[in-house]
C-alpha cells in the first residue's frame, strides 16, 4: 500500500484504500495526489484527476454503498504511462451498477426555467467529459471502474 518514489515521468503503480464514507473522500484524494507528486503534473492536470476521482468516489458512496450498514472500503489503484496518461481503477464491494453498466454521459439540460434547473446529474457528465475512457466491470462481488485520464502527456 502507499506509493513508492520513481524517476519521473515513470511512476510505479500505486494502490490506496479508504473507508467508504463521505468524510473519507478528501483524505483519499489528498493521498492519491501525493502519490502522483513525482509526475510534477500541471495544476490543471492535477485538478482534472482530483475532479474525476472525487465524482467517482462520491458516486460509489452515494449509490453502490448506500445500503451497506457494515463498514466498507474503496480501493483506488493507479498507474501512469507517458503514452496514455493516468489509468485509475476504483474498486468497491457494493451494489452493482444498474443495468450492469456505467451511466452514459448526458449533457445537463439547462434550457429550462430556473425552478427546473438540475441540481444533480453533473457527476457522470464530468467524468465522461474529462476521462478518455470509462469502463465498468462487475467482478465477482465487486465493482471495477477503469478510468483513463489524459494527463501528463
Amino acid at each position: 500500500m502507499g506509493c513508492a518514489m520513481g524517476d519521473p515521468p515513470h511512476l510505479p503503480p500505486f494502490a490506496i484504500c479508504i473507508p467508504g464514507d463521505e468524510q473519507a473522500v478528501r483524505n483519499g484524494l489528498a493521498e492519491v495526489l501525493l502519490c502522483l507528486k513525482p509526475l510534477a503534473l500541471s495544476a490543471e492536470d492535477t485538478n482534472t484527476i482530483e475532479l474525476v476521482l472525487a465524482e467517482t468516489l462520491n458516486n460509489v458512496i452515494e449509490h453502490a454503498l448506500s445500503d451497506s450498514s457494515a463498514p466498507t472500503r474503496i480501493e483506488i489503484r493507479g498507474a501512469f504511462c507517458a503514452a496514455d496518461g493516468l489509468r485509475m481503477t476504483v474498486i468497491d464491494h457494493g451494489a452493482p451498477m444498474p443495468a450492469g453498466k456505467a451511466p452514459t454521459s448526458k449533457t445537463p439540460d439547462l434550457d429550462v426555467s430556473t425552478d427546473d434547473l438540475p441540481e444533480g446529474g453533473f457527476g457522470w457528465f464530468m467524468i465522461h467529459a474529462l476521462a478518455s475512457e470509462v469502463r465498468y466491470a462487475r467482478v465477482g462481488e465487486s465493482n471495477h471502474l477503469d478510468l483513463q485520464i489524459p494527463v501528463g502527456l
Partner: protein, 112 residues
Amino acid sequence: MELTSSKEDALQIIAIQEQRIDAAVALAFKDRMRALTEEGEGTVLLDLNHVTFIDSSGLGAIVAAMKNLAPERRLVLAGLTPPVDKVFRLTRMDTVFGVFPTVEAALADLHG
C-alpha cells in the same frame, strides 16, 4: 462551513471562506446560504475567490441556493479560480449565472 456576509449598497456579498465546496459540505453550504439570505433583499453576490476545488455536489448546492433565492433575488458569482471556472464551463452552468471575474468588476457592473 464559514461564509461571511456584507452589504454594499443594494447588494449582499457573501464570501466563501473555505477552499473546498464538495459533497462533504454541500448540505451545510445550502443551510448557511439559506440562513444568511433569509432576511434582506436585492442581488446576492457570491464571492468564490477562496475556493480552489468544487465538485458536482458543490455545483448542485450553488444551483440550489440560486433557486431558493429566485424569483425575488438574483444570485451572481465572482472570483472563480481556474478549477471552479472549469466546472462551471464544462457543465455550461456559466451560462445560467451572471459570472464576474472579480467582486470589484461585479460591483462596477451591477451598479451600472
